[in-house]
Amino acid sequence: MALALPLYVSEVWLRVFEYAMVGAVAAIGLTLLSGHCGQLSLGTPFFMLVGGTAYAALAADAEAGSDLVGIGLPPVIAIVGAVVVSSLAGLAFAPVAGRVSGIYLAVATLSLVFLGLYLGQRFTEFTGGAATGRPAPPFTIFGFSLTTREPELTVLGVPFGAQERMWYLFLILVIGGIFLALGAVRSRPGRSWRAVRDNPASAAAMGVNVARARATAFAVSAGYAGLAGVMMVLWFGLLKADENEFQGSWSIAAAISLLAIVIIGGLGSVWGAVLGAAFVFGLPLALRLLVPSVPLLASITEGSGGFTPSVITAFAYGSLIVLVVIFEPGGLAAIGRRITARFGR
């Protein structure tokens, strides 16, 4: 189904799905960190910005007369580089993450969003700044672009433009991300993360290096965020620093919606993160597309004081968070498990 979707679905809906995939990758990393290692983080957008910036700087060609940094590496290597750079940024935060825990950590990671805002606007030679940003280097393999429409390609009578190709690229990245995460959860690091989450003191007594477990969790989660940042930049076709801390791709709003994804999906659940992302990232865009064609929606959304798609989505995910925390701390994942259990019998 997923593979054939671009043959049937219009470009604009592909874009909506792709946007949800960006959220999914970032949220998978966050759910590993918060769900398995017990470290609540609002800093994900910062690592996304780091990844997106690293990709743009590594993959872009240096241009004469431009202040922008461009190394000119092949895009595949640039993506790997971006993930590595953002993981290192995650490691750099480890000393703080190692000392501070619980609620204090959540607020401490919030400072990363502010740091990202400052650095993004300060180092315009990397980010392109908040004014115009810098174009995203297209993702090409052997001269075939997966994010623009060069060279032209038609599959079964359907022209494969930028969105159709990006769909496949993103699909590969998401599926890869899911399987890596599932692997990590089952493996040794995953077990040590959970031991640290449940009780750091007894984990240490059992021989787990608590500081190291926390640091790896941070690095892994930052790596996922970095990849999501690359995807965000490719999706926009543009890397741009945010204008303020409350709105934008790397903002507090983004941090809170990512947190919402993993809570609604069920803390720690990889598949839950994917579902949650479809909801939190996909719904506002999907609603906006539906509004003009559904008269009922149009009548309640219009004008001052209207229930706009972003208001509806905020209501929906705000109250879902509340409901999940009170009634179903396992989130969508737990509900899903219960349903499969019932029908599986």
């Binding site: 959540a106 400072s111 805002l117 706009t308 972003s310 879902l320 925390v325 701390p329």
Partner: protein, 292 residues
């Protein structure tokens, strides 16, 4: 020199308002063990009630209504939602209040539309000149409010049964319950006080001289600046909240003038990070004990 003096006054003045906000965080943290991310929405609701009521009833009645409204809302949030969270896990409570905040802010912002009315408090736009220095009346009033509230809280904690219960509960919730402390009332009262503080704070925030904008989404954003104040002081220390407020206000003022506005925003958070690395529970906070 007079620029430096004026900056100090400016910074201390906004610090007084941040202290009021930070106190709200601290009181709830002591009672419920939760950082209340919905504090900003309490401020916003109080502001909304005040600006809607001030036309017909005058500012005094409107402000009282706003303050009470925020107090009642805080109690409702506590009774209906927070109290039902299983085990009172602090992380779950943070998430819960984030959810509540998202919904309330969105609703108030929707109702306000593009308008951003000011609260018509008597101290708005009033200044006192002392030599070359200008002091905002509003900030002096905020400071007085802050000091009075701290004194009252101190007296409450110290000399009333409620205060004793509150202190017992902040020390150890279950043990306090076993010894007959009624958690329910103590906690609800704490949320009421925090809501009232939020309602008072908005009377200083949504004025042309403090923020330029009236009651709007931006008012909610300002509350975020009080976060570092509460953390720097230590989440369970009322004195810490006040000192944290001043640290944040002064850091902001000096770095805005002597470095840049861009840096000032991150500077506050860098100070917070530095404090956390050295003292993971803030300057005056109680260190968490790790139990096996």
């Amino acid at each position: 020199m007079s620029t430096f003096m004026q900056l100090t006054i400016n910074g201390a003045g906004s610090g007084a308002v941040f202290a009021l906000l930070a106190l709200g965080f601290v009181i709830i943290y002591r009672a419920s063990g939760a950082v209340n991310f919905a504090h900003g929405s309490l401020v916003l609701v109080a502001g909304y009630i005040t600006v809607r009521a001030q036309e017909s009833m005058g500012i005094t009645v409107a402000a009282i209504l706003g303050v009470l409204g925020a107090g009642v809302l805080a109690v409702i949030i506590e009774r209906v939602l927070v109290a039902r969270t299983r085990g009172g896990d602090p992380i779950a409570l943070v998430l819960l209040t984030i959810g509540v905040d998202v919904v309330i802010v969105e609703e108030v912002a929707r109702r306000l539309g593009s308008s951003a009315p000011f609260v018509r408090v008597p101290w708005a736009n009033e200044v006192i000149h002392v030599g070359q220095i200008t002091v905002l009346k509003g900030q002096i009033v905020a400071l007085c409010f802050g000091l009075v509230i701290i004194a009252v809280l101190f007296a409450l904690f110290r000399f009333t049964g409620w205060g004793l219960a509150m202190r017992a509960q902040a020390e150890h919730r279950e043990a306090a319950a076993l010894m007959g402390v009624r958690n329910t009332q103590v906690t609800a009262a704490a949320w009421l006080i925090a809501g009232v503080l939020a309602g008072i704070a908005v009377l200083f925030l949504a004025t042309p001289d403090f923020a330029g904008g009236g009651v709007s989404r931006a008012t909610h954003s300002l509350v975020l600046v009080a976060f570092p104040a509460a953390i720097i002081g230590g989440l369970d220390s009322t004195n810490g909240a006040v000192i944290g407020g001043f640290i944040v206000g002064l850091t902001g003022a000096y770095s805005q003038q002597y470095v840049s506005f861009e840096f000032a925003r991150v500077a506050v958070y860098l100070v917070m990070l530095a404090v956390l690395v050295v003292r993971p529970s803030g300057l005056f906070g109680t260190k968490e004990v790790q139990r096996v």
